[in-house]
Symmetry: C2
Subunit: 603 residues, 2 copies
């Protein structure tokens, strides 16, 4: 429970505000007021307390009168004192411990110094004068040494030293200790999300998210690697795209939060191995073919100015370490954020993004593998698929009376996103519209056993049966349907992940009972209906009740390192304690994969 | 004694050859066959042994027949076996121990690696594969990491790692361990001298020397500092001049010794504090005025590419550390080369160049001071003065019969260099042409006591008496004379140095008896007539017999660091154990300086 008084930002919703302040509230519905998970209790705040009960999901009239509200639906129009119940965060408690019990101890710090002025009795050089006052350290580079004398004399020897561990990376005139920011970024194949962090308070000042602009040169890592092989300057092109994107993020932080780039001294990134390589301009071509070796699994020290990033020129650019070509800094960050390696009990981590990475283990060590799940579960390579943005169908309910669905932002449907697909496929199977092998019944076959409300939705696409979810006559922007090929795509994706889980369990000789928690990372893991994921065999149904969605745990891991230097060592330990299993080299993978193509028995 | 057989370089003289190979032979006369100090004994070499005795200075007929020769006058026309007697080097033995008993252990090394190729069982990244084979280390920077994968795969994973201590600064395809060079440079205010060193053998492959091109912007450090203050881009201009000069040196090494710049991996420099600052582009303006503090007394790590030097891009650029604005890396290098700080006995080091630096002490610590001796002792600011180059009068003998002189290269005299000035002034004083206060007698006064051969040489210049050394009628290119102002310049210079010595001795409470050795560094120290230097009071006559000329000891110190990494720590210790005495802040300096303006009593 946290009852700190905080400043009000007029017109912002309380959920967004509390999250920016670093409070973790579950919100599986994405702030749409339907899941009821972001409940908070208003203790002070007259206008908010006196609002009439709107009869919303998850809060009774009695609770409403006691001050309980959904944070996502509470606008901040006055100063509030809020109680945030721990009980609502139990299924994400590992993130709380990973993220918010962090001791603020950034690797970047500022120290204000009032240096004695040079005199005939003390002719110490300017740089030695600085280091003498610090009592340790060295100066980063020649350019900095060249600049120090003028800064010192122009500011009367009152300066602020900026330190990265024991290295002075900058000197600023006067006392600038009040402004010290870092940024943590998760570079996903599809989306890039960055968090601006005040390193004096640990506050998360704001978030920037955008599509990865490299998408114009390929949806997945393989096609981007291909682009660098086929185009002489391809690597530089892709690198520049992501660097430009970072600079737009810094512009946004300046415009929106009044934090100019020159006050950002550390950027730590997570991302898959290919994304980290492309960001830093390391060649990726060997990652695409056997034996898939990366150029490096550790970035050397990089200064912002080397990459042309518009922040403090000597700002430290770091990345979490990587493990292999397909187990990257993002997986290491997820393991860091979920703290799996510290636990006695066995945990399973599944990060479903454009690729699927899986890790299994406990304090004695982890196994990890990567599956080429493909982006189908993100809505790509699906006929009417789309990302999880406004207008995407994100929830579907199919029963004998027909179909209900909801869209993100309550907009007219324009497509279907990953969670919607899983809903659709699971229930098409449950109702019998799809057989155990993934075949959509024809209208003729279906009419024998299924109600007309469903049979009438069976159509044809590319000479095979398809199934209509909605159309213009139901208010959608266009007809939205599931094709036979869509079902196959989902089967391939879910079979890859299921086979990966099965192989890691075999390797560890673990049964489902041994696994106490299943951490689902990635946006998809947050929004997916877990029952439906189990119904299609994406996750083993034996793990029901153990699932903990951890959101963008890769970003969380990246933030932990910005906030507290000690975590880089933990991340290093993770790479040493995690054994990578190359699925493509296993004689049994193909067999297990094919076994998992079928849908599980209806229960 | 060294009787190694070595390859012959046709037509080169043996002195130059032996020095290039790292042997130390005294040659105060500069290889002109007159001092007799570069004696060696030819053990094998028919043609050389059978040459007729030319009756030269320093070698008797008997010695000649036993194979003794002057190395400077022995041309190498066949393979020789040579004995180099230690006895001739006794007065420079510290240099021998400092320089040539160096254990070859450069900070740069190459290691050839045949790496296992990546396989599905061993997907280790390229950089980790390299570091794993080395067993330690880290990669210097991102640019290097970016380049490693291609170098490895193109050379079948057979590569040579180039290491600076524990950092990989480069990777070359195949086995390149055979080519590994370093360069040591002394950046003097007037001259720049660099030695190319084969780091596999320790051999000194060749030497490059040239005038410091910054001279066009001022003869001394003060005028160069002034240039950077008066001109907005002055610092960059002066820096670029010296960097261009380095690149010409590298071109010369390639053309003359067939060692391309890309095979040079380390450049270590000595030089005064201002020269080191100008080389590295650090601001110097504060060195010119009280309290004279430098920007830095240590250079940070610098890569050749940062300075635009045309050698291996990641070659290490280092400097010996400095002590103060006027006690620089050159003095530290001299202290290193003379090993003063290791001795029980007290030593005095006097480095007379454009400035005069003095150090005094023993293993318990040193005191050092700098005197603004000015460049008069190098022939500058003297009416007919010039540097020690061809055509300069370098030796003068004045007696009652008149004057004899010699010139460098036996050319018609065009001016007078430092050693010639000291000769002239000492003997003008001895003969009485100059009184104890430095006044040149008028012809009238002189005619009372001095022979006509001298009196007729007394003329007038700028309304004051002058003294003619030679003229066109004696075969000189022009009339060469000493003016009253010249005498004053020499008085100022010698008084400054003498006062410096006196103050350091007072501080240490030492008498002349306590000082066992006087190391004279700098070219001037090698060529000067020590008796004359004492007669004018440049050096105390009480130290007679203790003088050890050590030549360009600054360069020697710089070379030691290129050859053996451990010396950088010794240099560091020197800076910590040497206390700088600021003469300008001492109440007694002016008085002692004025006392030393007079010439000592004639003995």
């Amino acid at each position: 429970m946290d009852t700190r008084k905080t400043e009000v930002k007029q017109g912002q919703d309380l959920l967004t505000y509390l999250r920016e302040k670093g409070h973790r509230l579950a919100s599986p519905c994405g702030g749409k007021g339907v899941c009821g998970k972001c409940r908070v209790r208003i203790l002070e705040g007259e206008r908010t307390l006196n609002q009439p009960y709107p009869g919303i999901q998850g809060i009774t009239l009695d609770e409403w009168q006691k001050g309980w509200r959904l944070a996502c639906k509470t606008m901040m129009n006055e100063e509030l004192v809020v109680e945030i119940p721990d009980m609502w965060n139990t299924d994400a408690n590992i993130l709380v411990s990973g993220d918010y019990e962090v001791t603020l101890q950034p690797c970047i710090k500022k120290i204000y110094l009032e240096l004695p002025k040079p005199s005939i009795e003390d002719q110490t050089s300017d740089t030695d004068r600085l280091l003498r006052a610090l009592g340790y350290g060295e100066i980063l580079d020649l350019a900095l040494v060249q600049s120090i004398p003028d800064i010192m004399s122009e500011h009367d020897y009152k300066v602020t030293a900026i330190l990265h561990d024991n290295t002075v990376i900058g000197v600023e005139g006067g006392d600038t200790t009040g402004t010290l920011y870092g940024v943590a970024v998760d570079i996903g194949t599809t989306t890039i999300v960055g968090t601006l962090i005040d390193l004096n308070t640990g506050d998360e000042v704001g978030v920037y998210s955008t599509l990865n602009p490299q998408k114009s040169h390929g949806d997945d890592v393989i096609s981007r690697i291909g682009y660098t092989i086929e185009n002489e300057k391809g690597l530089q092109t892709l690198q520049q795209l992501v660097l430009d994107c970072f600079n737009r993020m810094f512009d946004y932080f300046e415009g929106r939060f009044n934090v100019p780039g020159r006050n950002i001294y550390h950027v730590n990134i997570a991302g898959n191995t290919v994304m980290i390589h492309l960001f830093s301009g390391m060649p990726v071509k060997n990652i695409a073919s056997v034996p898939f070796q990366p150029a490096a699994t550790h970035l050397p020290a990089i200064k912002a100015k080397e990459l042309g990033l518009n922040i403090y020129p000597n700002a430290v650019i770091s990345s979490l370490p990587m493990i292999a070509g397909y187990i990257g800094a993002d997986t290491v960050a997820c393991i860091l954020a979920t703290d799996i390696l510290k636990k006695e009990e066995y945990s399973l981590l599944v990060d479903i993004g454009t690729n699927g990475e899986i890790a299994l283990g406990n304090k004695d060590g982890l196994l990890a593998c990567a599956t080429a799940a493909g982006p189908a579960l993100e809505g790509a390579h699906i006929q009417c698929g789309m990302g999880g943005v406004r207008g995407a169908i994100n929830k579907i309910e199919i029963n004998e009376d027909g179909i209900c669905h909801s869209t993100i932002g309550d907009q007219p449907a324009i497509g279907i996103c990953g969670s919607g697909i899983v809903d659709a496929v699971a229930q098409m199977r449950r109702t019998g519209l799809v057989d155990p092998y993934g075949r959509i019944l024809s209208a003729d076959e279906a009419s024998e056993s299924l109600p007309a409300a469903l049979v009438t939705r069976i159509g044809q696409y590319s000479g095979k049966p398809s199934f209509t979810i909605t159309g213009k006559e139901e208010g959608a922007a266009n007809e939205i349907f599931i094709t036979q090929k869509d079902i196959r795509e989902i089967q391939l994706a879910k079979a890859a992940i299921a086979a990966g889980i099965q192989i890691l369990m075999q390797e560890k000789q673990l049964s489902f009972n041994d696994i106490k928690k299943v951490y689902l990372a990635g946006g998809f893991g947050n929004y997916i209906n877990h029952d439906h994921a189990m119904e299609i065999g994406l996750l083993p149904s034996e793990l029901k009740g153990k699932i903990v969605p951890v959101g963008n745990a890769a970003l969380t891991g990246a933030k932990m390192i910005v906030k507290s230097r000690g975590y880089m060592e933990v991340a290093e330990r993770i790479t040493k304690m995690t054994k990578y299993i190359e699925l493509s080299s296993r004689w049994d993978f193909q067999e297990i994969f094919v076994e998992n193509m079928e849908f599980p028995e209806n229960r």
